[in-house]
């Protein structure tokens, strides 16, 4: 029997297939289904501090607007008592997930304020999270803001959060960084126990009829996996940490590739959103079958086996390789 188990952030997992942050963890029922299907850990949907702030201010705005202005209608909506606009709702849910699931639950956090990051991180730990994933999403639009300033701030933030908690900490990176290896190294030095590559940003689109900017969710395609695959391959062995590959993981082959690049886990979202948990057993079976066929004993055995340092042809991951791909393109006859 092949050994599918792996260790990620110090957590012993029965296999490398982890459910990434998605709405599937919003419901106990769907989270349980993930576990039953064979998923080895779940990353909870993200707690967005900005969203909490926004919802709180929005609620206050609309509950206050128009009040105490007109003698007949001093308010327009009833006072409902407590509103779930604090992190409590998220934390309670995290606690409930922990109670219902036997697999590890990783909290996911996207903060905006320094105080917010650390206090929410602590609260997640208190609520029972097995580990924490920081989601460093920050879109810069100010031309005067330098990359160095941002990177420094993020490194500092990771250190602060790390010092505030005792559970393992993973950091989800953006691919849009000039020197990914340097930044990854700094983040790990700051205390991260793992790196999740990469954050996948939803990009707005244009509606040419309405001349408006539109937002819609596009699920990932398998080809998108190549970006994190490349970077984990490059970083593996150079920056010592646990890697998680996310984006584009749809099949057992994708999981295998992730492992070979050097990831400890492969995180899946789009497939789960599209098909639910039912595709998981097949992926795991296929994984098992492939490994048996190729006579791999364990997942650990293959982890990093095709990383840049182990592949025997390091340039394959660098610029020359890019040129080669272009050269290989021919116009169809």
């Amino acid at each position: 029997m092949t050994d599918l188990s792996t260790t990620y952030l110090g957590l012993k997992l029965k296999n490398p297939l982890v459910a990434s942050a998605s709405p599937l963890t919003r419901k106990l029922e769907s989270a349980k289904k993930l576990e039953e299907a064979g998923i080895s850990a779940v990353v909870m949907y993200s707690l967005f501090e900005e969203q909490i702030i926004h919802e709180s201010l929005e609620l206050d705005h609309y509950l206050s607007r128009g009040t105490e202005s007109f003698a007949e209608a001093l308010t327009y909506l009833p006072d409902g008592g407590m509103y779930g606009v604090s992190p409590e709702k998220y934390l309670n849910h995290l606690g409930e997930l922990k109670k219902s699931l036997s697999i590890p639950v990783i909290g996911s956090l996207n903060g905006v304020s320094k105080g917010g990051w650390t206090s929410y991180a602590k609260k997640m730990q208190e609520a029972g999270a097995d580990a924490l994933e920081l989601n460093l999403y920050y879109l810069v639009t100010d031309p005067d803001m330098k990359s160095e300033e941002i990177e420094n701030a993020q490194v500092e933030l990771v250190a602060e959060v790390k010092s505030a908690i005792s559970i393992p900490l993973a950091v989800k990176l953006s691919p849009f960084i000039t020197s990914i290896p340097n930044f990854a190294k700094r983040i790990v030095e700051a205390g991260a126990d793992g790196l999740v590559l990469f954050n996948r940003f939803y990009q707005p689109d244009f509606d040419l009829e309405q001349l408006s900017v539109v937002h819609s969710l596009e699920l990932s395609t398998p080809s998108e996996m190549r970006l994190p695959l490349r970077w984990i391959s490059i970083l593996y062995g150079k920056v010592q940490t646990d890697y998680a590959l996310t984006t584009g993981v749809h099949t057992a082959n994708d999981v295998l590739k992730a492992m070979m690049a050097g990831a400890k886990v492969a995180m899946m979202t789009s497939n789960l959103l599209e098909n639910g948990s039912k595709s998981v057993p097949a992926i795991l079976e296929n994984l098992q079958a492939w490994m048996q066929e190729k006579e791999y004993e364990s997942i650990e055995q293959m982890q990093g086996s095709m990383s840049q340092k182990n592949v025997g042809e390091p340039a394959a991951f660098e610029r020359a390789n890019y040129m080669k791909v272009l050269d290989s393109w021919r116009e169809l006859p």
Binding site: I52, I53, E55, S56, L57, E58, L59, D60, H61, Y62, L63, S64, R65, G66, T67, E68, S69, F70, A71, E72, A73, L74, T75, Y76, L77, P78, D79, G80, G81, M82, Y83, G84, V85, S86, K89, L211, S212
Partner: protein
């Protein structure tokens, strides 16, 4: 043990007792009592129990009549039951009140006493409503303060259980119901001691039960009815003593002692004022003050008015009394005196004191101020050898000369009392902040405290006034802070200085705090002359804070509440600064904590940023300003507008004499044009280069401040320099015609709906449209001139305008303009459109509600006239009867038209057969036909003018009805779905040609968001706090079932063309029409600028399918139902969760929200399927017109 104290208003104090001492509460919202029902509902929803440990069942009914019926039934079944109401609501309960009393049923109704709609509606307080039920057999117990409202609620409950006579406990609407005061709290234990469980069980035992069946409600005949009516007498005889017994018991329990008649003043008083309600507080304080100075005066406060105990009354009156002045807060036209006066007179005669001279007067109607000076004036009148036997006090009656002279300089001196007046904008949170401040003072210091709040009658740009008093002694001053009495005056909006005289309140040496755009060194030069004069003359300490800047930096937006509250405490020194800040922060946490940390944090930051930004201004010795306060209305306004309406605008309405007013409530229309409120700092600006002249912005503007005109280019002569115009793109009016889109800069509320609806996007920057918001101040003057010029350009002749397209329809002049509706109102665009299409021949019946308030509240009203002086004739009857009211108008028009036609035929010889035929057979289906008929009627009148035949005079008097009139019945969903539904149904069934426009906001908007039957499933509203569990009533479907009613469901934001078509069709249909219009509303809790987008989503989600049901189609073998929206294409949640009314349920109870949303989705699906099936039915089976 120290008695617990609380800061609370009269409504909450009363409701607290009622909720703790009842099992069933059936209510219907009506100002100013609504809050009592709302509190009860909220408490029950949160599981709060009565003193027996169970939560009362609270139910909202469809009308007060319904509430009274439900109460009667609940009582008959044996539950402790109550209700809360006021005004017309109480009148609707009268039939049941007779029954309840006739059956000797223990219950208490709590009434926030309010004026009755007579010549006009008023939401404010007096005793007209309670006096209208004094004959029903109920005991009437009057409380005069917040403390008493709480205490008497308990006393009346105890008394009714023992006496079996139902009690009506009343207190003055607004003055007591809305005053926040520090009172001694009635604890559960105390209330428990007041209520005898045996009596509760006896009440229960009298309930109907099949285990011990009895029968009530028999029909009786002349032989026995009379005797049985008399059989109750012993109970009424016993009731006063029982009430006194309960007052005595209450004194033992709480230490607060009351009597049926409470006397105060000089023990050997010769002149005594007799009075009920909050006025009694004023009278008591005044006579105590005067008695201290040796005057032999007193006040007798009537607590139990019915049953009127002559014995107790006389016991209360000192033997020394020589004359009494009885003050009634009501009016009974034609009576020999008002009710309390009449009772006193007969009591004096019957009780053996006929030598006492009695005079009677009216005071305080509709919350008219009642002050110590007025009490003194009444007592002075008693000193005169020939006092006025019937008088009024508090007004200047120069017609029948009833009024007494009042010395404005007289006031009571209260040691240590501090008085503060604050002026704010409704939206800036001033009132809320002051409620918090007075609570802090009342609860965190030893001071007694009082807060009273005054609002103007607009829904946008409201000016609020907060009157706060505090001091070491209990406050008995139920009147506003008077001129020259305020220790502290605060102006929270800088622009108020140019139109409001607020420093008249300041006392010498007082403090003036101004939220100023200018710093301490610049502000003086930017003040008006009058303001500078007052500051110097009154030696005021003058402070400024740039609250706008602090608000912007701390994310408070337009909310000045926390900032100005902090400034108040920092300057006034009521509490040490640190303690004050701690208390403010504590209050912030308490108020906003449940809305999330971010809100608390934001407010904390505002508190911290405020203190460092307060500056004292060094006041120069001389007045330097030449700028003066603005006139309330322009000098060119008509005299009535200047002398009456302008005075009201200028807060001077109290001083207008009786003679200045119309005698029957009739007012001129078109008066909002004179009240330039100058509300918005941003206004839309036309980009004429890219405008396609579609008219959509004109159509959606809720306040009719954007208009477009096509006109002959010659009209441009003399145009102001900045007046914009381009060539007309209208195909009917092209060569030689110019086009202008103009904004009224001083009337715009800045809602931005116009910008949102503009379909044009600048190709070089798609964020720019053909109309864009820009700063108003630099544009104001020039655009005001442009507006005036624009308005003087003649409108196109209506007969040249085909109104069936949006752009053309918007060439018709709106005859509904600049209303006081909320910025971005979803109702008024429909109302305005009706006024454009049919206004010059419309008669409108308007149900009470938002539309009657923004449509008919003084000072100025929005219904307007065209250049010919024609326009909608508008009237509001009541809330419940509007359909019938409108039908009545139709009946008159029909009858008069019929009579005119009959008469016309007999004048064939006189006026010519051709003219008679032409009039009788006129085709008035379009504007040209109507105009031709108007001309014929003019000709007819001219021909008949010289006739001496009385029938000719009759014909002249009704000839105008020969021109087709358009009857519109308008109102909200509270009227149409609930209280007025029975009448509406009957009117639709009548087949008469009326047009009903239902402005469906899916909630009672005007009274503050109570659930109606139009409220959709899953939405939160008052009385549906956990989300409405039942689906929205389908009013249109019910109306369609008649088969001969034209029905349309419209949503302007989703399809403006369909809206236009439906209204045109409805009006053209010679029968009843019902148009139900989706009206987004502030009560939905969303960005009103997105109102049209939200309407679109409502339609797309299937929540609001649009259709027209035209019975005329069936006559031609076609299905009358035409569905005009597509199958639902988005989930209901995508529409709903943009609105707080839905979203807040997900934040309060996610599981229930999900469940209800799922059901709401099923509702939409089922509705769509049903409509589809109906629309596909075959109508060709012989029903075609033959």
């Amino acid at each position: 043990m120290k008695q617990p104290v609380i800061m609370i208003d009269g409504n909450e104090a009363t409701a607290s007792v009622a909720h703790r001492s009842n099992e069933v509460i059936a209510i219907y919202p009506i100002t100013p009592s609504s809050a009592m029902g709302e509190f009860s509902d909220e408490w029950s929803a949160k599981g709060k129990t009565n003193i027996w440990g169970t939560s009362p069942l609270v139910v909202e009914m469809q009308s007060e009549g319904g509430a009274a019926g439900a109460v009667h039934g609940a009582l008959q079944a044996g539950a402790l039951t109550t209700t809360f109401t006021a005004s017309q609501g109480l009148l609707l309960m009268i039939p049941n009140m007779y029954k309840i009393a006739g059956e000797l049923t223990s219950t208490v109704f709590h009434v926030a006493a309010r004026s009755i709609a007579a010549h006009a509606l008023s939401i404010y307080g007096d005793h007209q409503d309670v006096m209208a039920v004094r004959q029903t057999g109920w005991a009437l117990l009057s409380s005069g303060s917040v403390q008493e409202a709480q205490d008497f609620a308990a006393i009346s409950q105890a008394a009714t259980l023992k006496s079996r006579v139902p009690f009506l406990h009343f207190f003055d609407g607004f003055r007591t119901s809305h005053e926040v005061a520090k009172i001694y709290k009635l604890t559960d234990e105390e209330l428990r001691l007041m209520l005898d469980d045996d009596l509760v069980r006896a009440h229960r035992a009298r309930g109907l039960s099949p285990e011990a069946p009895v029968l009530r409600g028999t029909a009786q005949n002349p032989d026995v009815y009379f005797q049985m009516r008399e059989a109750v007498n012993p109970y009424y005889v016993a009731t006063p003593a029982i009430a006194q017994e309960m007052m005595d018991k209450f004194a033992k329990v709480t230490g607060r002692h009351y009597n049926l008649f409470d006397y105060s003043g000089h023990p050997e008083a010769e002149r005594v004022v007799i009075i009920m309600g909050s006025g009694g507080e004023v009278a008591e304080e005044t006579v105590k003050f005067l008695a201290q100075q040796g005057e032999k005066v007193g006040a007798l406060r009537v607590r139990l008015y019915r049953p009127f105990s002559v014995e107790h009354f006389l016991k209360g009156l000192p033997k020394s009394v020589k004359s009494v002045a009885v003050l009634d807060r009501t009016k009974e036209p034609g009576a020999t005196g008002e009710p309390l006066y009449m009772d006193v007179v007969s009591a004096l005669v019957e009780g053996g004191r006929p030598e006492i001279k009695a005079i009677g007067g009216r005071y305080g109607l509709s919350s008219k101020e009642f002050t110590p000076a007025m009490v003194k004036s009444v007592l002075d009148e008693l000193s005169k050898p020939e006092p006025k036997v019937h008088f009024t006090v508090g007004i200047h009656d120069d017609v029948t000369n009833t009024s007494l002279e009042v010395d404005p300089s007289f006031s009571l001196k209260s040691d240590g009392m501090v008085s503060c007046v604050f002026f704010g904008l409704g939206s800036d949170g001033t009132v809320g902040a002051n409620k918090n401040s007075i609570k802090i003072i009342g609860e965190e210091t030893e001071n007694f405290a009082q807060g009273y709040f005054y609002y103007d009658s607009k829904k946008s740009g409201t000016v609020t006034m907060s009157h706060l008093r505090f001091g070491p002694n209990m406050i008995h001053a139920p009147y506003l802070i008077e001129n020259n009495q305020a220790d502290f005056v605060a102006c929270h909006q800088y622009t108020f200085l140019e139109r409001v005289d607020m420093l008249k309140y300041a006392k010498e040496g007082g403090i003036f705090l101004l939220n100023s755009l200018y710093g301490p060194d610049e502000v003086w030069e930017n003040l008006q002359k009058e303001v500078q004069q007052d500051i110097i003359k009154k030696k005021l300490k003058f402070f400024v804070i740039n609250g706008y800047d602090v608000a912007e930096k701390t994310g408070m937006g337009g909310r000045m509440n926390t900032i100005m509250q902090t400034a108040f405490f920092a300057i006034s020194g009521i509490l040490p600064k640190e303690q004050a800040i701690e208390q403010i922060k504590h209050a912030i946490e308490k108020t906003y904590g449940k809305r999330g940390e971010a809100v608390v944090k934001k407010n904390f930051e505002a508190v911290d940023a405020t203190v460092a930004n307060i500056y004292e201004v060094k006041v120069p010795a001389e007045v330097t300003s030449t700028a003066t306060r603005r006139l309330p209305v322009p000098s060119e306004a008509p005299d009535f507008v200047k002398n009456v309406l302008g005075q009201i605008i200028d807060s001077n309405g109290d001083n207008i004499p009786v003679s200045a007013f119309p005698v029957d409530g009739t007012f001129p229309t078109g008066t909002t044009q004179w009240e330039k409120r100058n509300l918005s700092l941003e206004i839309p600006v036309w980009n004429e280069d890219i405008c396609i002249q579609c008219g959509k912005c004109v159509m959606v503007c809720p306040h009719a401040v954007i208009r477009h005109k096509v006109y002959e280019e010659t009209a441009l002569a003399g145009a102001p320099e900045t007046f914009k115009h381009v060539k007309s793109k209208f195909k009917e009016f092209s060569e030689g015609y110019a086009y202008t889109l103009q904004v009224a800069p001083e009337d715009c509320t800045g809602c931005t709906l116009c910008v949102e609806v503009c379909p044009v996007k600048d190709k070089t920057a798609v964020g720019r449209k053909a109309i864009n918001m820009e700063a108003q101040p630099p544009l104001r003057e020039a655009e005001a001139k442009n507006w005036d010029f624009f308005m003087n350009i003649p409108d196109l002749d209506r007969k040249l305008v085909n109104p069936s397209t949006i752009k053309n329809s918007q060439l018709l002049r709106p005859l509904f303009e600049f209303s006081g509706a909320c910025a971005g109102c979803g109702e008024t665009p429909y109302v305005k459109l009706v006024s454009q299409l049919f206004g010059d021949r419309a008669v409108i019946a308007n149900a009470t509600g938002c539309s009657s308030i923004y449509g008919g509240n003084l000072p100025t009203t929005p219904w307007a006239q065209d250049a010919n002086g024609r326009g909608p004739a508008w009237s509001n009857s009541l809330f419940e009867d509007n359909a019938e009211f409108g039908l009545g108008m139709r009946l008159t028009i029909d009858k008069q038209t019929e009579y005119a036609r009959e008469l016309l035929k007999s004048f064939e010889q006189t006026v010519s057969t051709e003219l008679v035929d032409a009039i009788l057979n006129a085709d008035q289906s379009d504007e040209a036909g109507i105009q031709a008929q108007r001309e014929r009627v003019v000709e007819l009148k001219a021909k008949l003018e010289k006739s001496s035949d009385t029938r000719a005079k009759d014909l002249i008097s009704i000839a105008d009805t020969l021109v087709k009139r358009s009857v519109w019945i308008m109102g909200g969903d509270g009227w149409a779905y609930d209280i007025g539904y029975g009448g509406l149904d009957h009117v639709l069934a009548s087949g008469r040609n009326v047009n009903v426009l239902v402005l469906d906001t899916e909630v009672y908007s005007n009274t503050g968001g109570q659930s109606s039957k139009a409220t959709p499933r899953a939405a939160v509203a008052k009385f549906a706090m956990s989300g409405k569990g039942m689906p929205k009533k389908d009013l249109g479907l019910i109306a369609m079932s008649y088969g001969y009613v034209y029905v349309a469901r419209i949503a302007m934001g989703a399809n403006d063309q369909q809206t236009l078509k439906a209204l045109l069709e409805a009006e053209s249909y010679d029968g009843p029409s019902l148009v139900i219009a989706y009206s987004h509303c502030i009560a939905h809790g969303f960005d009103m600028a997105k109102g049209l987008e939200q309407q679109k989503l409502a339609v797309q989600s299937g929540h609001w399918p649009m259709y027209r049901y035209d019975p005329r189609l069936a006559l031609h073998g076609q299905n009358p139902l035409v569905i005009e929206s597509k199958a639902p294409s988005i989930p209901i949640s995508q529409y709903a969760y943009n609105e707080t009314r839905y979203k807040m349920l997900t934040q309060m109870n996610e599981e229930r929200a999900e469940e209800l949303m799922k059901e709401a989705q099923q509702d939409a699906k089922a509705r769509w399927t049903l409509y589809q099936q109906m629309a596909s039915m075959h109508y060709g089976n012989g029903s075609e017109e033959k």
